[in-house]
């Protein structure tokens, strides 16, 4: 059994480009990757929001109402539902004067068990070290 770990690092605010949302949809696709793999092999995806990227996590995004588009918030929740590790950089949130009450933290209403993890940047560095490959958005 082999595991390949991919780290998705979101460093820019979203919507202007679709890349930030594609980061989440690609990470979520790890749920169905087994069709390309041998039994017991797997690909695990961690997602981290850093820098201006943390602005993607502000809650109550009315993107569907205004642009008929799924919000990045809804994708973060879907990622939690799929048990992805989703990290948000603590220092960057603080820099913007944001706290856990301002951002999407869980996916309880759709039955997700995982929570977003607000962590010091050092832990994100550690995650990056552990990954086999990194994908910056």
């Amino acid at each position: 059994m082999a595991t390949t770990k991919l780290g998705f690092i979101v460093q820019r605010p979203g919507l202007k480009s679709e890349n930030q949302k594609l980061a989440l949809t690609h990470a979520i696709a790890s749920q169905s990757v087994e069709i390309y793999l041998d039994d017991d092999d797997e690909v695990l995806c961690d997602v981290a929001f850093i820098g201006d990227g943390v602005l993607n996590c502000i809650k109550d995004q009315k993107t569907l109402e205004n642009y008929d588009l799924n919000s990045t918030e809804s994708h973060v929740k879907m990622g939690l539902l799929c048990d992805l590790n989703i990290f948000v950089c603590k220092e960057d949130l603080e820099k913007f004067g944001l706290s856990e009450s301002d951002i999407v933290m869980d996916a309880n209403e759709i039955g997700g068990d995982m929570d977003v993890r607000v962590v010091p940047y050092d832990e994100i560095t550690k995650m990056m070290e552990e990954m086999n490959h990194l994908l910056f958005f």
């Binding site: 605010p13 919507l15 201006d52 502000i58 809650k59 109550d60 009315k62 820099k95 913007f96």
Partner: protein, 99 residues
């Protein structure tokens, strides 16, 4: 000239706004530009709010990012709609610049 400029990015890659000297300047914050109206870094408002200008921020783009009029950090920034943009363009300004 009476120039209304559109700022659609949070991190700007041009310094054109520093150099434009119209007789009347409007700044419409849209797309990721709305963060200039709502977001402080280390307690400081965006330096983009320092121009002598009339400031506007697009309601739809605030909301799409989880923000509302309540998040706007400076009273001088007026929340507007697409319809208001049309009226501003036709009634208050004669030229436009998407930066």
């Amino acid at each position: 000239m009476k120039l209304v400029t559109f700022v659609s990015d949070y991190k700007m890659t041009v310094d054109t706004l520093d150099r434009l000297k119209p007789e009347k300047l409007g700044i419409i914050l849209c797309q990721n530009g709305v963060f200039h109206a709502t977001t402080k870094e280390n307690g400081n408002s965006s330096s983009l709010l320092n121009y002598t200008a009339d400031y506007y921020v697009l309601k739809e783009d605030l909301e799409s990012r989880g923000l509302t009029a309540e998040n706007v950090v400076d009273d001088k920034v007026k929340v507007i709609t697409f319809g208001d943009i049309v009226d501003l363009m036709f009634n208050e300004y004669d030229k436009t610049a998407w930066l």
